[in-house]
Amino acid sequence: MRVFVRLWELILERFHLKEFLEHPVPRYSNLNPLYWLGDVAAMSFFILAITGFALALLYTPGLSLTKTPPDPLLPGHHGEELHGKKVYDATQSYASVYQITYLTPLGFILRQIHLWSAYMMIFATLAHFFAKFILGSYKRRGGGALWLLGVLLGFLTINQAVLGYILPLHLDGILAIQIGLNLFRYFDYFGIPVGQLVVSILGSAFVTDQVIKIIYVLHILVVPAIILVLLGLKINGILYGGVAPPPIKDEELRRKAMEEKEPFYPHRFALTVGQLLLQLSVILLLAALTPLPLLEPWVPGQEIPAGVRPPWPVMWYYTYVKMIDPFISVGLPIFLVLFALVVPLLDRRGGVSIEERWIWVAIAIVYIAIIGYGTVLGFLVEIPKEITPLTRISAPPDYAVPYIGTPQAVGP
């Protein structure tokens, strides 16, 4: 026993882990829930990495057609009979995810944990963003750089969610990839051939084996690697630069709160571990109560039912894209990200308490309201053309490609 204790002490000493474990954490950040949300997002990322590793081993991307039985969680399917069992035409990707979900031991719970932690990561990322917006955490020294990293990480998180949503190539996944491939074409209308560049890199404007392979590599390797590096930089910045000052107006009280510190281990460590356990139990509970079905299969050329909706993280974008002219609405995410990036440059005066910067708190609420309003509206109503706040700009006639063949009649 004494050998193990000695070994543990040696590890702590040789890797300088003692300094890490004993680094001072301000007490107010352990008590205020606004300082806990980043941990939830980071822990979700590690849960996603572990479950994702297992899923990546089991999944095979591809578009070749195979026969698949219907999804037991999704009633009302129509399919053809084969050997007395209902089967569908589906892509290799879909059949592979079907195999993981319903025919692999522990595959179902693995996929559920992966999906629900992905949703939790997005929710925690958004909540963390608004918490730091309201706290004005970019006002401290080094805070601006961390804010910049955070905005980039949030952008990558949403990207990662969309890439992962595409991989099973179900009906909604195919719409996601088609939108992803064609979204950049709006740059072409302004004379910047970004859309054509994307098409020439991928080799197609429609999903192919090559495209789905690229999406797979991006989802399991490239984007997570970038997230990991940025997350490491951010944690390092917080470790040595400290967290956002408390939102207290009185200078004396604020200084006092900032001086009151606790060691990371065991105070903050216990909080993080407790949070992780709570998070895991919430994920398991959600997976048990509302398991997410594998959606309908898709094959090229299949008719797509009207009224399909995207998943909630991008629902707000769907709503605005449907009701506002595409030349304006297509750039909404770029506008929101750019605005988030310049916030530290605009909001520089005054303290960090809410009374001193209520105008920026109001802007943060408007920012969250734009996303929240679009999300709720997307779920509630089928948007009619009449309620559009901005009317559609009719395209100039030059934009149309005339019918390029010489019409040939074949009939009587």
Binding site: Q178, G180, R185, V199, G203, Y403
Partner: protein, 198 residues
């Protein structure tokens, strides 16, 4: 401590300076680009589309790019046109024109709004396409003299802008431009796709 403040000021200067330069560049590049390139590209009529030649000559065009006319008489048919690594989703169909004749047509079924695959509408004859995602609707012009493009046509039928024959123009929804067409040629009893826009 003055050193620290100086550093901070310099960092802020660089930060603001590069942001201003970047945003000026980001604002002016599309403006300049649109002024210089827009007209030249628009004249070609190929704006935001890439031309793909499926076969140079209809005589050596492979069968996989074709559909028998007898099959098109049953209704529109989906064909995934494959060339190298590229896949082009195409719907072939027959359009019943106002002159009473049937014309074989094919369109690239990627919606020009956001790129969802569109569903063909009409029964035996192809009449248009509906997008399931954001509700765009494309109607195929079936008048050999062209179809009225705006409301002025009811008042002044001779002078208004008209959509060319067989153009799948936007008749509803948010799509900014017509569906990309595929050039078809009839040889024997089959319809061949020879050139596509993606």
């Amino acid at each position: 401590m003055t050193m620290v403040n100086e550093d901070r000021r310099n960092v802020l200067k660089i930060f603001i300076g590069s942001s201003v330069a970047l945003s000026l560049g980001a604002l002016t590049t599309p403006l300049v680009g649109s002024v210089i390139n827009a007209k030249a590209l628009a004249l070609k009529g190929e704006y935001s589309s890439v031309e793909v030649v499926l076969c140079e000559n209809v005589d050596n065009c492979p069968e996989e790019y074709s559909v028998p006319i007898s099959e098109l008489r049953q209704g529109p048919k989906f064909v995934l046109l494959k060339k190298g690594n590229m896949a082009i989703p195409a719907v072939f169909g027959l359009v019943k024109a106002t002159d009473g004749k049937e014309y074989p047509v094919a369109y690239n079924t990627v919606c020009t709004h956001f790129g969802c695959p569109v569903n063909p509408t009409g029964g035996k004859y192809l009449m248009g396409f509906a997008c399931p995602c954001h509700g765009s609707f494309f109607t195929i012009c079936n008048d050999p003299n062209g179809c009225p493009a705006d409301e002025e046509c009811t008042k002044n039928p001779d002078k208004c802008k008209r959509w060319p024959f067989l153009e799948a123009y936007v008749s509803g929804g948010p799509a900014p431009r017509s569906l990309r067409p595929i050039k078809v040629v009839v040889k024997g009893d089959r319809v061949y796709a020879v050139k596509a826009y993606i």
